[in-house]
Symmetry: C2
Subunit: 193 residues, 2 copies
């Protein structure tokens, strides 16, 4: 449900095409909060249109396909507000990196360390990107006024805090590994069912 409402939220700021939503909003301004595939954006727009939460108008262009400009309706605005007010349980955790560490007992210490170092580098890059976004002016599709800009900066803060937490955790793990993890007990590897 979040993608639907994210799209409604962006369209409330400004009428846009599917292409705009994908490139400017989900790849750009809101990438640290939610990502979306191109196919998903177009399909969701279609669904929202069927339900009357958005409406669209074709804008002819020379050489390129018509731009389909989407605009939120009153009904869509109501749906957005209702969603903002409806309490929602926190999402379940699902982290492939943690799952790997959980299952990594069969790897030697050096390979576990390698795994974590690689992840650390990835998160470090993410952190730099977030820092750059925080230093840059607020993108137009992220906020239309000072209030929106403040909320946008809050979400950037959350993303940075979360990323920093992962990096710090990896550093702790690396220190623990450098002291040597307990060795693996020899596993019985019988093959009968």
């Amino acid at each position: 449900m979040t993608l639907e409402h994210a799209i409604l939220g962006f369209l409330e700021r400004e009428p846009m095409t599917g292409y705009d939503l994908k490139t400017r909003c989900f790849d750009g301004a809101a990438g640290h909060v939610w990502t979306a595939d191109q196919a998903q954006v177009y399909r969701t727009l279609e669904r929202l249109s069927e339900r009357g939460l958005v409406r669209s108008r074709a804008v002819p262009q020379r050489g390129k396909p018509d731009r389909r400009l989407y605009r939120i309706t009153t009904k869509g605005r109501e749906a957005l507000l209702a969603w903002l007010r409806r309490p929602e349980a926190p999402t379940a955790v699902r982290d492939p990196l943690l799952m790997r560490v959980f299952m990594a007992g069969d790897l030697p210490d050096t390979e576990i360390a390698g795994l974590l170092t690689q992840a650390r580098d990835d998160y470090q890059v993410r952190l730099e990107t977030l820092r750059a976004e925080a230093a840059a002016p607020v993108p137009s599709c992220a906020a239309t006024d000072a209030r929106g800009a403040e909320l946008y900066r809050m979400t950037l803060g959350a993303a940075m805090a979360g990323t920093r937490a992962v990096i710090d955790w990896i550093d702790d793990c690396m220190e623990r590994i450098s002291r040597g993890l307990p060795p693996a007990s020899p596993q019985v590897t019988g093959e009968g069912v």
Copy 2:
């Protein structure tokens, strides 16, 4: 792909039924790392079985349906190891709470604060649960030796660090809100397409 390999990992520790995997592993020991629906577990077991990564044996019971006991195969063990070694890009962020804050400009300060307070409570509960897990003895399906136990504790540490980061972020936001967010600019709400 992670669920498949998570199941392989658990079955390497100990042969189990779908029911065990769901209740002991995904609801229990590994809930802070990965969750899985019951239907998903059974379907994935079936798929793994078709591909020869696990094999099963029916264990008759009185009164209850037969237990279908799954065991990892040599091929499955190889697949697990290959997955552990294969580098993987970090997952895209997708956080409904952040999306709400991002879009919350139309709500009054008090309602934004309420939203965050509710979320804080939820994460506080999560943190208590994690603390209890860290204090309790390591569940048998989480690790079979001291090495596995250490890795398990590392993943608990990551979950706790992440949860604490969210709580701290919310506290920062609440302080910012208590000083008053900038007011919303009046929006033009024209309805033409």
